[in-house]
Amino acid sequence: MKRKIPVLITFVVGSVLILSVFFPPIETWGEDFSIFFDIIAVFAFFLGGGNLLRIHTKKAIKRQKDWGFSIVTVLGFIIMLIAGLFKVWNDGGIAGDVAAPGSLFQMMYNWIFTPLGATMYALLAFFVASASYRAFRAKNVGATILLVASFIILLGRTPLGTYVTGWIPKSLSIFNIPDLAIWIMTAPNLAGQRAIMIGIALGVVSMSLRLILGVERTYLGVDNE
């Protein structure tokens, strides 16, 4: 019984939502699902947040390696929670907008959250260079095409490209690097994108059916009989 009901729920909910596209009276059920999901996710967060607190406090108490940083994480979590749930220094009080300027929550967001997130994201500038240095090597035909296509786009998307091939006459403009870069983006790139997108759609259809028909059940901790 424990395993039959979840599979049944998945089947019923899945098939109803697939068919809801075709039947106007139940057309908007797909949209309602997103609200249900958001509410369930908040409850699930109690498990997640609880796990975070448990692991880091256990690590701090037992003085395992790097236990000092666990204390910092727990403190950061609790301070942010208090600042947000009780709307500390928020002009609008408890009814004010949680991200109101001047509130502790928004201050912590601007001073801690944004610089850390933006800098972590910015590390990509270095990683993209080291990945290009390491990975773009003409090992085989595929890798060479990857290298050449990236090379042309790199040149084409900055003023550099115009300098290198600016002299090519208008008639042969396709070989002018910036135009070649745009052509690569709009023709071959498009073909590859389309093949991948169509493939993804078919993959999603097949996997969704496997989930709904109960062929794929491992996610439920249900062993395949």
Binding site: D38, L75, G76, A83, W111, F113, G192, I196
Partner: protein, 211 residues
């Protein structure tokens, strides 16, 4: 500049340098930044979920004085079932129901969504006359149609990549490689501009070395 702003800028600069130090190697400055980031961001998202979803989407709708909605209660009940995991294995299996609901709904909603936007529209967009417009357009159109076709051949599962079929599959992977190379090259620019944003902060707002 108020003292808060100066303190804020110095703190942000310290965090920026702490994260960048990871490029050299893992060190104490990075560990501090990581710990603060993990803790504060987890708190941020819980607060956002609490006010956006629990308060606005559930409480305001379910207890709306004018027309209380029933639908949010479905989410609430399934949410409570999720919490049964906390009370021992005897009733923890109940938490599988909301999971089954989510997975079933996601499979149902996204199947049609992906099928319409990725498959139907992209196939529809591929069906257009080839010999139209200038010579350049003709070459592009032929390439797009052939590339999409060969790309699909590459993804074919039930036939070995041999002979003519193998040839088409190889042309397909070449098109995919052009797509990957182009996207990679195109994004090098955006990644650089992210770091520019940080450098503009460090040398502009913080050290005031640039206007």
């Amino acid at each position: 500049m108020s003292w808060e702003q100066t303190f804020g800028i110095w703190l942000a600069a310290a965090f920026t340098l702490g994260i960048v130090s990871f490029l050299y190697r893992d060190n104490i400055f990075y560990k501090v930044c990581e710990a603060i980031f993990v803790g504060s961001s987890a708190g941020y998202w819980f607060v956002t979920y609490f006010w956006d979803n629990l308060y606005r989407k559930f409480y305001l709708q379910a207890f709306d004085p004018v027309s209380p909605h029933i639908a949010p209660w479905v989410g609430f009940i399934l949410g409570v079932l999720m919490l049964t995991r906390l009370f021992g294995a005897k009733i923890a299996w109940l938490s599988r129901w909301p999971l089954a609901f989510i997975i079933g709904a996601t499979a149902g909603v996204y199947m049609m969504f992906y099928f319409v936007s990725n498959a139907m529209l992209q196939i529809g967009a591929s069906i257009k006359p080839v010999f139209v417009g200038s010579f350049g357009d003709i070459v592009s159109n032929v390439l797009i149609a052939a590339g999409t076709f060969c790309g699909l051949v590459y993804f074919f599962f039930s036939k070995e990549h041999k002979g003519v079929f193998g040839g088409a599959a190889r042309v397909g992977i070449w098109f995919l490689m052009v797509t990957f190379g182009a996207s990679f090259g195109y994004t090098v620019m955006s990644r650089m501009s992210l770091m520019l944003g940080r450098l503009d902060f460090l040398f502009g707002d913080w050290l005031r070395l640039i206007s």
